[in-house]
Amino acid sequence: MTPALVLLAVLVTAGAVVAVSAREPRLAVLGIIVVLTGAAYVVEPMPGVVALAARLVGSVLAGFLVWVSLRGAPPPTAGWRMGWPGASAVAIVAFAIGWLAAGTMGTALGTLAADGPAVGAAAALTGGSLVPRAALGAALALSALAAAPVLLGRDALRLGLGLLLLLAAAGLLRNAFTAGTDGIVELGLAVLTAVSGAGVAILVSRSLEAFGDLALRGPGRSDAAIRHRPTDDAHPLPPTPARDGGRGRAGRRAPAPDPGAPSSGRDGSDWSPRP
């Protein structure tokens, strides 16, 4: 069982690489589904059926909701500029660091606990099992891969996938250091995963609905600054499509955009209906 779980940890890491580096949104979501689903099972000993089922349902639901939110041929995203080779390199290094750190930690705990009971929370780690090492390695790899989209992400999908990667990393960290798993706690984590997936999905959906792309507008570019000017402004701004629903001053419909032109929507002016 142990080699299979270690392989699963590697597969989870590979899924994370796909999630952060793929330019095709659906492929990236496929990667996150693999990560969320697999991360719950890199644990030794295996939790009960209820816990396994709860995590499976929560993970699949989260991924499915994000998948559904991308209906209607979303545009390719920028992906990670480093590409998949760079992402793979980061993941491998982080995985190795986590693996070695877990080994060192297990050795230290085992030395100190040689004449006494093992630290309960790290029984598997001190027992020499490879699964906690793989779990910690995958957790670090996922965290490293998620750092860029979470801290610098300007794209609703990339940010959301990064956050879901972080959630999976927290679960893996817990798997590495927890001796036993509690069905109710697993259920709580499953609910958190599903709700987070729903949050990402609704964010992506609204972004596509409003702007036709996934870019997150800064405060200087969104129409928030326009909409929230004081109502007693002495020099009100002229109506814009974002404020009057696409009508000009005379109530005319704004000219239809060129279907072949890229949907920039940077200033919130691109309100053309998506095909």
Binding site: M105, A108, L109, T111, L112, A113, G116, V119, G120, A121, A122, V150, A156, L159, G160, L163, L166, L167, A169, A170, G171, L173, R174, A176, F177, T178, A179, G180, D182, I184, V185, G188, L189, V191, L192, V195, S196, G199, V200, I202, L203, R206, S207, E209, A210, F211, L216, R217, G218, P219, S222, D223, A224, R227, H228, P230, T231, D232, A242, G268
Partner: protein
Amino acid sequence: MMLVLLLTLGTLGAAASAWGLARGGRAARGGALAGGVALLAIVVLALALDAPRVGSGTIPEGVGLLGGRLIPNDYLRLVVALWAMDAALLVCIAWLGAGLAGLRGLLPALLVSIVGGTVALAATELTLGAAAAGATGLVALVVLLATREPASITPAARELRATIVSTVLLIGAIAVAPIGAGLAIRAAGANADGAPADPAVNGATTMGADATAIVGLLVLAIALAVAIRSGLIPFHLRVPRLADVAPPVSLPLLLAWVPLPLAVVGLAAVDRLLAPLALPLEGEQWLIIAAALFTLVAAAAAAFLQDDLRHTTGYLVIADFALVLLAFAALDPEAWGPGRTWLLVLVASKTALGAWAAVAEGRFGTRSIPDMRGWIRRSPLLAAALVVTTAATFGLPGWAAFEARVGLAQLTAGAPLDAILLVAGFLTLPTYLRLLGLGTGVATSRVDRAAPERIVRIRRFETLSVEVEGVAAESVGAEGVAAEGAPAGPDAVPGARPAGRDTAVRRAARTSGSMASHGATHVGRRFARALRRDATELTAAAVLTLAVLAALTSWGVLDISGAASEPAPIVSGPSSD
């Protein structure tokens, strides 16, 4: 049993209100009614909750839930009751201000957040509590994205990021904490048992240093999680932008209530897993104290210098949250009680402040503080509310709020730093005084134009019966006609009678079998209309009620300090070692 009922009611109320308010019309009225009834029922259930004092003995059968993973406690009872009462008043304010459209997003979010907060505060497993607290934080999306405003997408993304990052930090710290604690305990044991020259003792000493470093990092991670979630400086940038796009009446929920469960779970993690180790963590303590002090000073200055009412409110909330960091910096189980007391005072007083700001903005039609000069002349009830809120924020000697401030400062640092921290906690006072002082000035034209707080009774007038197409019209009051006729447009005249054909149809309807339900709806609409006619006074009264609730909390009614000081309902498990 009561806990199950509370959670079920909250969930069903949230679902019904979300479904109904999204559809509009009769469904919206039904949904809003269901949500409102659920809120009131939660208040009653929370106060009637059988909450055994933790540590007082065995938990009676039937009190816990999910095999003892959720156990109600006194603190939970008070928090949920106050949360639901505040929520009900906020819903009233939102409805009076913007009708049912003002409840879309807000009412379901309030109910869901109460359910999530209840689970987080009742959890006996820290990871479960952290997961529930994280899920609670996601209600911000419900509020922000309900408006379908493109401008709210980016702030919603920031809220999502802050919520999940803080939750992940907390869950990660809880997972690693037993390792650090185990290392520290075993290193201490080896040091105590072995001879100084023993190589095993040297190894243990090294391991002890490593354990100290790990535990220090964990304390910082938990404090960081709370700082990110509550928007402390330097993580404050999302707060003004959130205040710009969120409905103002929802700000108390988003800024004050939503971070509360995460802060409580973070405090529980430190109190139960890390503080009892009593490791020398001066460096980490100083770092947290510095962050808290900087936030106290900077947020107070920003609040005073800001001319935007919403931003000022946001910075006042941030400044008060900085005091919560002191409970982490103390690294003393004694700080658990004052920390949780202060959290409750914070949310109660900031809810009153946020509601005051929302009502004032709606009343005077501006967010600019200078434009609100002279506001007290037009709004004495709001003035009273702000005075009471100020008193609730700072408290008086002997009050729970004041004692919590003093306790946190003294537990965090010795003299003279404790005095500095205590004084820094009062740095927001000038902002409150500025708002009050500005209100006594000469009223601006904007304030002059605002509706005064004065109950206005429109005298019902009699109309003569007339024959229209052979049907005798009834004499009805002006307000009844205005509501029963066609949808009021810009040209609608109060008191205008509908066409004779409509009157005939209505007469026929009155004789039909649905007369009873129609009458009830009619009475309900008239009641609602009567309430909204005096919206100015009623919103001010609601804000004053919130302020009084905050003052009672600050005073320490219902033994809030005692409830906050009772041990966390955490049981030992395989992961807590």
